[in-house]
Structure formats: structure tokens, C-alpha cells
Subunit: 340 residues, 2 copies
């Protein structure tokens, strides 16, 4: 089968690899229908994280091809969506809704790699969720989005306690930020402020429910949010970037007692304790427990209530994965879907 390998930062190749096989009785082999490139894949691509012959990809939908002897929740032929974090979904942490902190947690991007024809998914029962049937092709991008980018944006909005009567600000106009806008809208937020300076992303943010757009960043962005909120700051802020500036902007934009959900993967961020202390806010974040939300998200997609798939603005065959990375790196694409 084919698989995407990053030889070193900037060097992405599609290579022939051995087909995956069942190793543990809790495994499943999934023949992938579609996969994609994540904003977080750009960190190693740009050399911010190391990359030495790494199998890439952690977002996936596909059809179950084989299951281990202990797998009971999904069966051969099922169309499944999986989280980007492996979880048993039975441990105490999973049962509390934090499957991304499962005692058996394993990151799909670290050793599995779903930018490929097939993937072995450990703890299939706790990681995969079957759709109600075989999906219409037009639903594939949205179901794929649920695997990470939608689930992550959704978690950001939930962590920020977006809801009725709330003003929600979203820092970051990448795919996750846009999905956080969608989530805030679905969760009933009264006002949704998207921070973006890219016209096409502003447009998509408005499509997903943004009521206001702020182009300023950093302290100026914080001031602008305060202007829009009677000087108080937003009730809920989603941080979907992961840089020092974005994190401090999110903290500063949250009103005292408000909630900041952070889902941008932190890079070289150091939060000054004294600023967090005097902000007087709640924070919650980390790798999203996508598995918690998957059944609801699949239902919303299946019923055509949401259209997260629009976040993919470039579709390429897997063989052109390198071009997909390049397009995202150069910001010519927000998110690239790879067909198989």
C-alpha cells in the first residue's frame, strides 16, 4: 500500500509500504476512503518539530476491512470515523469524557499514520464510531473533518463554555478556528467574533456563524474585543493557534470569570503565571477528546445540520500529498483533503 512519509522537514514523499496487519485482538484494519493534512502537520514540515522518516496523518474515515477477535462495536464493512487519539473508552478517564487522556492513549500521528491506503487502529472499539450506513460521497469531507478538525474546534468551544447568551471570540482562522465558530453557533452563542485578516477565511467564518470580524492582533485585538463587549472581554474565548501571541491574546480577551478553551498545539509558549493569576479566568484545553463528541457530530452531519466539509478548499489524490503540504505551508489552502 501507499503511505506518506516525511523524510525531513519540507520533504514529503508517497512511498510503497507493507500493508498493516492485526497485532492485538483489539485492533481493526481500516481501508481509508479519505484522509487529509492537518495544520499541525505543518509544525514538522516547517522544522518546528523534528521529522525523520515519519509516517504522516492522523485524520481518517474508511471501511473496516478486518477486526481482531475482541472487537465487538464495529464490524467488517462498517464505515467508520475515528479520533486522532486512540482510546479504550472504558477507563475512568475516558468515562469522565476525556478520552484524549485515556490510560491507553496513543496518538495516531505518532506511529500509525493515516495518510495511507490502510491503517491499523488499536482499541478499535473505543476509538472508531460507525456511521448509520454507507455515506453519500458528498458527506465524506464532513465526516473526515469530524475526525480531528471539527472535533477539536468543537472541544475548544465546549471548553470555552460557548452557549446561549454568550459572546464567543475565536483566535485563529485556520480550519480549527473556523470549526470553533461553527461549534459556537451550534451551541447557541449569541455573538461570535472571529479574528481573521484573510478575506476568504472571513467569508467562511461568516458562513459558519461569525457575527463580527476583528482584523487586529495582539494587544490591539484584545482592545477591539473589549470595545465590542462593554469593556469586559468575551465570556468565552477559543485559542486555536498555539503561539505565544495567540495564547496571550486569548487570555487577555477573556473577561474575569470567563472561560478560555485552548486547542492550538502549544509551541514555545510560556504563560506568565502572574498574568494568568490576575486574569481570573477558567482555562481548559489540550488534545481534544474527539471520541466524546463523535456520535453527536456524525448525527449532525448525517442529518445535514452542519457542513464542516466546506473547510477543505483543496482536494488532491494521495499521490500528490507533497503538493498539498506545500499549498498549506504557503497558505494557498486552509485544509487539504487527500483522496484514495
Amino acid at each position: 500500500m501507499r503511505g506518506v512519509v516525511m523524510h525531513e522537514p519540507g520533504d514529503v514523499r508517497v512511498e510503497e509500504r507493507d500493508d498493516p496487519e492485526i497485532v492485538e485482538p483489539t485492533d481493526a484494519i481500516v481501508k481509508l476512503t479519505a484522509t487529509c493534512i492537518c495544520g499541525s502537520d505543518l509544525w514538522p514540515y516547517r522544522g518546528v518539530e523534528p521529522a525523520d522518516h515519519v509516517l504522516m496523518g492522523h485524520e481518517y474515515v474508511g471501511v473496516v476491512e478486518e477486526v481482531g477477535s475482541q472487537v465487538t462495536n464495529v464490524k467488517v464493512g462498517d464505515f467508520v470515523v475515528g479520533s486522532f487519539v486512540i482510546s479504550d473508552n472504558t477507563c475512568e478517564i475516558c468515562r469522565s469524557g476525556y478520552q484524549s487522556g485515556c490510560v491507553h492513549r496513543e496518538f495516531v500521528h505518532a506511529g500509525i499514520g493515516t495518510q495511507a491506503d490502510k491503517a491499523r487502529i488499536p482499541y478499535a472499539d473505543g476509538t472508531l464510531v460507525a456511521t448509520p450506513g454507507q455515506p453519500d460521497p458528498e458527506l465524506i469531507p464532513s465526516l473526515l473533518a469530524a475526525s480531528d478538525v471539527l472535533g477539536t474546534g468543537w472541544y475548544g468551544a465546549v471548553a470555552a463554555e460557548a452557549g446561549p447568551g454568550k459572546t464567543v471570540a475565536v483566535v485563529g482562522d485556520g480550519a480549527v478556528g473556523l470549526m470553533a465558530v461553527l461549534a459556537a453557533k451550534q451551541l447557541g452563542a449569541e455573538r461570535i467574533i472571529a479574528m481573521s485578516r484573510h478575506p476568504e477565511r472571513q467569508e467562511l467564518a461568516r458562513f459558519y456563524g461569525a457575527t463580527d470580524i476583528i482584523e487586529e492582533r495582539g494587544d490591539a485585538g484584545v482592545e477591539k474585543i473589549k470595545e465590542l463587549t462593554g469593556g469586559l472581554g468575551a465570556h468565552s474565548v477559543v485559542e486555536a493557534v498555539g503561539t505565544q501571541e495567540a495564547v496571550m491574546q486569548a487570555i487577555g480577551a477573556t473577561r474575569p470569570g470567563g472561560h478560555m478553551g485552548f486547542v492550538g498545539v502549544s509551541h514555545d509558549v510560556k504563560v506568565p503565571g502572574i498574568e494568568l493569576f490576575f486574569a481570573g479566568i477558567h482555562t481548559e484545553g489540550g488534545p481534544a477528546p474527539v471520541r466524546r463528541f463523535l456520535p453527536d457530530l456524525i448525527r449532525l452531519i448525517w442529518d445535514r445540520k452542519i457542513d464542516p466539509g466546506k473547510v477543505f478548499d483543496l482536494t488532491l489524490p494521495l499521490d500528490q500529498a507533497a503538493e498539498g503540504y506545500k499549498a498549506m505551508d504557503e497558505r494557498r489552502a486552509t485544509k487539504v483533503l487527500l483522496t484514495l
Copy 2:
């Protein structure tokens, strides 16, 4: 009247000062019955914060001597407990329960100073709470504790979501940490782990409800908490120190999806974003909204349900304030009450 002034770090003097007067119609003048020295007063005493002729003290109980024309909630002769943060208790932030983030917030330690015979309290209606009557003298220490150290420890436990079925760990065995133990017990926590290596504080922690004591610190302390919690970490952790080691210990000791309440005033703390990200926890903290809890805390004290006053282990007349600072600095006393 007399007032405590810190001329410079380590140099505390009791001096004659002008009596305070009503300035705003929302002010009250309180003749103090007792005051005390806070662990946070040691930061300037030790030169970690600047101190240049600063009026000291932010904890207070006493009798209302005079009120401004717009004060209606308290009247002359009332015995009152006040928060260490001035709040109007009517703004949107106050109404959400975050009075320490009030739009009119002012810190009593920054310009008012209650280590004195009298103090002018701004926004008296929103800051002071009258007791049901004149208290028995034996209740004075406990009521005084409510002003900050109990209210802050209580907030730490609430922010950490201490409650039935929860394992709560408290980092810090100072007065606030001990009060967090008391609060966790009152809030119904199943297991309360106090981190302390001082025998007399361990004893007090057990008196207030600690079920386990851990003497290890840092990574070893984290490991010990994991040992006691099936490898998962505590559901709720209260950070009541404010140093880098204590904050990282608290983050590390919280299970994924758990809650970390931090009430230690941060000093030179920098939280690595990546560690907070992969911890996958909730955090909430800052200056405690003591005003939110005061009515309940006064009731618990009035009804002899709790005895936070035991946290004072040295009582001195105000004139000997300098000795009180010295005793706390040298850890000969946990918390010093000053009589007037």
C-alpha cells in the same frame, strides 16, 4: 490612629497616622477589631515585591463607625467582615460571582491598609457583610480568617471542583492551604491529600480533614499522588503557594479532565504551554472572589460548624506587628493575628 508601614523590605513600623475620612458617598469607616498578617505580606517583606513606605494589611473585621450617604447595606454599629478586594457587587462581573474582577476592583493592600486602628472601605455596600449580631470574642479569629485566608482557600477548593467522590490534593501547607483542606472537607470530598513536611501543620491539616499526608515535593510529590490514585492523579488539586515548583507540581498531580484551582500569588512562574496542553486539565484561579462566599462562611462560623480561626498560631498586639512579620518570615508562626 496607628497603622503599620513597611518602609522597605524587612523594615516594618507602627506609626501614627491621620484617621481615615469618608471621601465617596459609597465609603464606610470601619473601626477594626482585629487584623492579621498574610502570607502574601511576606513577598514585599522578603524583597520579592517592592516595598517603599507601604501601608500594610488587607484582612479585617470590625465595627462600622461612619457611612457615606449612599451606603444602605451596612449601618453604624454593625459588625462587619470585608473582602480583601473592593467590589461594587452589582456589575456584570460581580453578578457572575467574580467580585475580585469587579469593574471597580481595588485591592485593599494597595493604598487602604488594614493593619491599623481604622480603615476607609470604598464600595462598602458591595464589599462588607454584616454578621447576624455582635460576635462572641472567640469567633473573632474565624471571622477575620473569612476576610481572605479562608475565603481564598475556599475559592481554591471550589475552583478545583472539590466535592463528593473526589480526591483532592492541596499543594502548600500555609494558612491558605490549610483552609483549602477545611473547604474540601466541607464540600464533601472523599479523600483529601495535604502536601506538607511540617509536623505541626500536618496535625492541623488532619484536624481540618486531611486523610493523607505527602511529604515529597516536585516530581516525587506528583509520583506519590499518582500512587495514591491508581496512577491517574487527583480529581482536584489546589495550588496554594505560587512558586514554579508548586504550580508544576499541581498541574502534574491533576488527572486528565481534572481541575486545578490556583490561589497562590504567582511569582516568577512561567507555565510551559506544552505541558499545560498535554496535561488536559481545567484551571481556574486568581485573587479569590471572597465576597461571593462571605455570607455562607459567616453562617458556618456563626453556627460553629467550622473553626478556621485555629489557623492563627500567634496573637500579638498591633504595636508588635514587626515581631509578627519576623515570626512568619522565620516560619515560627503560620499566621499572626494582631489585636487592637
